[in-house]
Amino acid sequence: MNFEHCIRCTICVENCPVFRVNPDFPGPKQAGPDAERFRSHREKTVDDWVLLCSQCKRCEMSCPCGVEPAQIILRAQQRYGMEHPYSPAHLLFANNYYLSGLGSLTAPLANRIAATATGKKIFNAMGIATTIPFPKFSFRTLKKQKKVRGRSVRKVAFFYGCFINFYRPDIGRKIIQILSALNVDVVLPPQWCCGLPALGNGNLTLARSFALKNAASLADYIDAGYDILYSCTSCGLCLLEDYQEILEIPQAKKIAEHSYDLHEYILKIINDDDIQLEFGQVGRKLAYHIPCHLRALKIGYPAAKLMRRIPGLTCEILDDACCGLSGSYGFKKSNEGTARQLGERAVLLIQKTGAEAIVADCGSCRMQLSGHSGMPAFDPAEILFESLGLEQKNRAKK
């Protein structure tokens, strides 16, 4: 639907987390469909406030007319990025993949520097906020994991994404074990950053180069009979949506047709093969913070459906609040206040549930929410892993 379908009802504005706390952002209606009428390709863009949109896509989810304000704004952001010099923070975060690679190689040193006062000062000088601690680099990235192959009928290529690879490879390993326990063969295809951080920082060229490499790699696996699996909801949304719409990647349609969210896939095979999974007791009281990009995937909340089957687990779904971090967005000094206020609000809602821990599919949501609340934050896969008793089975094997 194009911007002409907007009936100006303002429901998107009501749903915009940034608009709520930052008076400099005119809201998705004005920044999207309204301003689009005045954007001329003959004139240089001057609206620097388009960069204030965090691309949470809540406006698109709420529009009763199917207009996509976030995508209109995303295009405007790319144009702004092309026509103006990048700030150091924008450049750094667009290249997060390479930086993180470096960080992981030198993990012990990099982690220590990032935590020092001098380190923080340097970050601040570059326009990077240090409200919540940076995630810690992991030396043993998931990329270095040896491949798991069997003779199962079901084969998946796991697009694990940068967060799992560089910061939390342990979650990646757990996911692989869950899938193996379900008799699914898992391979780790050659892969790069999905491209979303580059897009989010207005660097269309870089995003496209990442996407082209990934697409070529993933398409080969699809041709060989693999399904693509992602567990990071933002990577997933980028693969499914941005590869087709913004980045115009030739193999995008094929990838979208064969990609599944991890939990969506698990539900699917449980359903198709009539598998009776034995969920063990997990005595936890959790608040399930729904990442904005999980909503935007339009697949419902599959992890919630799985967790509902776990005995002893209480898990309240919260999908009204954006955590405010939006990947690198909240790490920029200019968005620090926005991210902090939204984070505090999301945490308040979580605390009201009386939960003892947070669960969220998105690494950056978890980082933000546990950073602001001091509560532990889990990936749903970790809870699943615990319930399926894979920890004990591992130990028994050893």
Partner: protein
Amino acid sequence: MSVVEYDIVVIGAGVAGLTAGARLAEHGYRVALVTTGEPTACLSTGCIDLCANGARPLYAARELPREHPLHLVSDTDIAEAFGRFLEVMRERGRVYTGSLEHNRCVLSALGTLKTTCLTPAGMAASPQSDNEVIRIITFSGLKDFYPKYILSRFAHASFSSYDAGASTTMGIASRLERDEYLEAFIVWLEKLDIRENKIGLPAVLGMKNTAEVIRRIESRLERPVFEIPTLPPSMPGRRLFNDLKDHFRNKGGDIFWSWPVVGVEKAGGLIEAVFTRTEGKPNSLNARAFVLATGSFVGGGLTATRQTITENVFDLPVHVPSGREGWFDEDYFSPDHRIGKVGVCVDSSFRPEHSHWENIFVCGGILAHAQILKNGCGHGLSLATGYAAAGSCAEYLK
């Protein structure tokens, strides 16, 4: 393809869809609710009208023309639907005032008194006649709210203006939920030395905790405070939607956002599944029964072209007054435009007439002959028919 199985799929997240969905979930059915975006209920005043043609809503409803859809709902069912609604809202800390016996008045932003049946807590103290002595408080820069409209119709009214540092209803509402802002506002109010009997404000008293904000102002100012509904973004409409949505989810319902139904799978006299538009693999929901609650034109249930009017999901037969010239009245402001009668005709079990689908149940604003503007029956019609259609659907699934 991702196929998900449910007992019932409800299409539409408005008052009718959420009411029907919650009732079915309470019966123990697995209910999915799909919606293109957020409903027009978010744009409403949050008041529940049943029939505004007289002092007694239920009595007036019974005087409506024979073909009006409210006649499909028994007195007992209307009473139960309203009773259940009041109960649910009370549990969520949102006390509604009013009964099926007496209509009430709500002051509009134009200074007129509008008739309605149930009013949210914020409007309980709304003046019941234009003789009342009131002080209006507005906020500087707030768009579309001009107290002088009210002053022109009230003999004993005056107004003052407060600078809240924000000029949108959302911005002010979220600020007033923060202690320090609210305190500063109350102190300013105290200095005004208000002598009038009641204090009226645009509906910005908190996004969620309205009762608490009002209680604090009333206890310090020692006089009743009431909210005046605004143009969108409308906080009372949003509060109503959020509460109904949370209630539906607490009963175990799943919500799929941004999920317009673009295709339907049929077999014999049954609908078997609905599809949505996705970037890749088709996304479908299977169910044994479907509740259609998509609203009329603005809600997205009906589309009018020059020649005809169609129902958007199942292509059900639509009752259209003959001849396009017969759709409209001469007078633009007439409440009697016959296009208000357009909609889907149903039998006493809420199944669509002149179609052979056994498992579709229709409720809410899409029903033919409703003439919501003329009869003042919005939301109440949705509550009553949503509740009754759910009953009929549950009966069918037994």
